[in-house]
Amino acid sequence: MNARTVFAALLLAAASAAHAAPSDDASGYLTSGSGQVVTDGFGDCWHTGEWTAGMHSAQCDRRPVKAVAPMAKPAFRAPEPVAAAPKPPAPKPVPLSLSTDALFDFDRATLKSEGRVELDKLAKEILEDNYRTIDITGHSDRIGAPAYNRLLSERRAQTVSDYLAVQGADTRKIHTQGVGSSEPLTAKDQCSGLPRKELVECLQPDRYVEVKVLGTQTSALR
């Protein structure tokens, strides 16, 4: 808290916004009628013409070495907690992976009715709680052209986002992306050499939508 060197006369306009706290070398600081040092909205003190270097108060120009001086505290102090509560762990995104096949038919970006049921469950879980962000990533299998797959996976992520928004999710907190077939869940050679129909089935795990919910510290979704 650096004292702002301003003469008291300048303060009149700001006085209404100021609040008071107990003082030590009170004459060097602008004080209220009850003798308490006045600080502005930033917690800075106001020096008077009588202020000299070395003057200090609890909240103004505290001496650096004598660091035991208590920090200024608001008059209405919150009660100390009986026992120090363990610091809640930093929130981590909860990845929820939904199979695309459960939500969409092959090569479609519109939800099928089973997909809505899945998303209703998800929406209920998310929206009942506090959430900071919802990251939705669409994934596709490797069948088809990369650019096409990326756009289809984006489209599917957007469809999920739109659905959650209709259920009441805050669109400002939703981020969507599609990464095409760049993050498959099947191993590289797992489905090699299969005829098309079997290949589509074999690659089923690669068609998924990932929903990561970042909860707040008060939320169960951590």
Partner: protein, 138 residues
Amino acid sequence: MKSIPTIAATALALSFALQAQASTLPQPTTENGVTFLSGGIGHDEAAALKAEAKNYPLSLVFSAGKDNAFLADIKVTIRDHTGKEVLSTTSAGPIMLIKLPAGRYKIDAQRGDGKHLHRTVQVAGHGDRRVAFHWQAA
């Protein structure tokens, strides 16, 4: 998305249900007096564009490989018979519909890997000429 209900009182849930079922046609845009639309990502949008193709004198379809995989992000440049560029854009999907005056045009399509295909086509003012650009290599 012309069938999204415009009646204000329509419930949101109903609105979404209809939107999800709607034939989702991308919005046309106009550049240098040429109106076009592109897309076809996903079966539904592709079907909507194929149905709309009859209203456009020229349709382009982009595919590759023996599976005829649909492509996207194709750079399309169209020049008239004098060599003047009439359209230069990127197709958002495998299907592109273009309104062009009757005439002869040279079309250049370029895939993401830089490989070009060229076609010269005759467009009739009221026809619905369809041109396929197929790259052999997937």
